[in-house]
Amino acid sequence: MNESVKKVFFRRKITYLVIFAALIAVYIISASATEFHLSEGLASFPKAMAWIGHNLMPDEKAMKRFPKILDKLIETALLSVAVTVIAAIFAFFFSLFGSKATGFNGIVNRIVRIVAAFFRNVPDVVWAMLLMFSFGQNILTGFFALFFTTFGLLTRAFIETIDEVSAAGIEALNASGANFIQTVFQAIIPSAMPGIVTWILYMIETNIRNSTLIGILTATGIGYLFDLYYKRLDFSSASLVVVSIIVLVIAIELVSNLIRRVIL
């Protein structure tokens, strides 16, 4: 075999070895810090699977609770749509000031980006608990907790979308003397719309999953229902909640794939 070819294979082997060793080292450090034992994890895995197969099956008692679960499920779906749409409207106007393409000066851009980073990175757990004090066990607690994070995420996403797709159109309209509002409606919205819609659909799906977590923390919505059955050890009803969440998320995924295929 040629010398240089040998070298390539040798280097590749070394790279694989280094990656492997680094992974082992990281694993050992993390496992000791979290008191995680692989043997325990591996041992509990088949046990958990057997338990899921045995207990996590909706039965007749659970079916009686189905109307209540369906009610909360619809509420959760509507909540995540409402949160995402309202956050998207705010994020869109906010992202106009954060985009380089729209021609605001650098300081405005930077401030918008910092504010967005702040809202994106404060964990929704914190918002949930903060709002829990003042709004109590209310659907608005979930609404605002999801709203702030969604707003931060969508602002960043929209800024990137506008920067990517609208720059040429904005320049053309500016050159022909269009004012700011005309530019927004004739250049930015038409060109960025497919990207924006894709992000909105993605966020609706994510928010359904996140609202389960928020629900557990703030005792609202579908998350609360799961937590309630779970703590009562009524696992068959809890599993019906899980199944209904799965159906909802997959249905939304299928619909958004369909929509994406039409608009892109």
Binding site: R12, T34, K47, P123, V125, M193, L213, F226, I263
Partner: protein
């Protein structure tokens, strides 16, 4: 003369086609895609309005709730202070959260790597690939926190349940994106190795991994960021330890908003540092 007249009428015909009845020039182009977007936006707005009408607000006094929220926000973000915990311990808890995220990313990535070979169209028969894709979609549809709680029943609350629960979702997510990166590989590379008699694992390690490693690394780091924030949430909602659990205790048991503030700041700084780090890595592997 006649010729010019006919040219004029011709032009008139053409121009009319591009004008509205009122005489304005048409500027929009109507396509299937733009009308689909319009319908979708209308449906979403309609659902939003319906949502706000249908919600049960339980007679909340909005002005009071908002002013109380603003007061609390002020306490959390402007008067952060540690009271019941030492800074060192908080940093250690942050490290524990970091490690929970790391462990679940490593396990998820290893399992996802092998599973994605069964899931990508160019490495697996299409029947197997479709079946695996369905299972993956099912696993992904269940929220992380529910996986953790489900495993907590048999493994007990703690790091084992947290890591396995977090791993499940990362595994499904990474399998999907890894399979997409594998599907983007040039078919010629795999075919060339197959033609020269390479076995399956030789193809994997000499063609697939080198060609898609950079994309896989980028996705893994992105997933690590998500796992880190999920580890915080899981710590809070499922008592799995780490800084999320501290946050939960400060918020829901001690009602200590000052401490919640400093924990929040620490988390935000950690996440932003992580984001910067992973952007650097992504730039480098590209």
């Amino acid at each position: 003369m006649e010729q010019t007249a006919s040219v004029l009428t011709q032009c008139g015909g053409v121009c009319n086609a591009r004008r509205k009845r009122s005489g304005k020039i048409k500027i929009g182009v109507h396509s299937k895609s733009s009308s689909a977007v319009k319908i979708l936006v209308a449906v979403l707005l309609g659902l939003t309005v319906y949502a706000f009408i249908s919600f049960d607000y339980k007679e909340i006094v909005l002005s009071e709730a908002i002013s109380a929220t603003l007061r609390n926000v002020k306490t959390v973000f402007l008067e952060p202070r540690l009271s019941s915990d030492t800074f060192r311990n908080v940093m250690y808890q942050l490290f524990v959260t970091f490690c929970l995220g790391t462990l679940s990313t490593i396990f998820g990535a290893i399992a996802a790597f092998f599973c994605s070979l069964l899931c990508a169209k160019n490495t697996a028969p299409s029947g197997v690939a479709n079946a695996v894709k369905c299972v993956i979609a099912l696993i992904r549809a269940v929220p992380t926190v529910l996986w953790v709680l489900i495993f907590a029943v048999s493994a007990g609350l703690g790091s084992v349940a947290a890591v396995i629960g977090l791993t499940f979702h990362s595994f499904a997510y990474l399998t999907k994106v890894y399979a997409e990166s594998i599907e983007e590989i040039d078919d010629g590379t795999i075919e060339a190795l197959r033609a020269s008699g390479a076995g399956f694992w030789q193809i994997v390690f000499q063609a697939i991994v080198p060609a898609s490693l950079s994309r896989m690394v980028a996705w893994t780091f992105m997933r690590f960021e998500i796992n880190f924030t999920n580890a915080i949430a899981v710590g809070a909602a499922a008592g799995a330890g780490g800084i999320g659990f501290n946050l939960y205790m400060a918020g829901s048991f001690y009602f200590d908003l000052h401490e919640m503030g400093i924990l929040t700041y620490i988390v935000v700084i950690a996440v932003i540092l992580l984001e910067m780090f992973s952007t650097k890595i992504k730039e480098r592997v590209k």
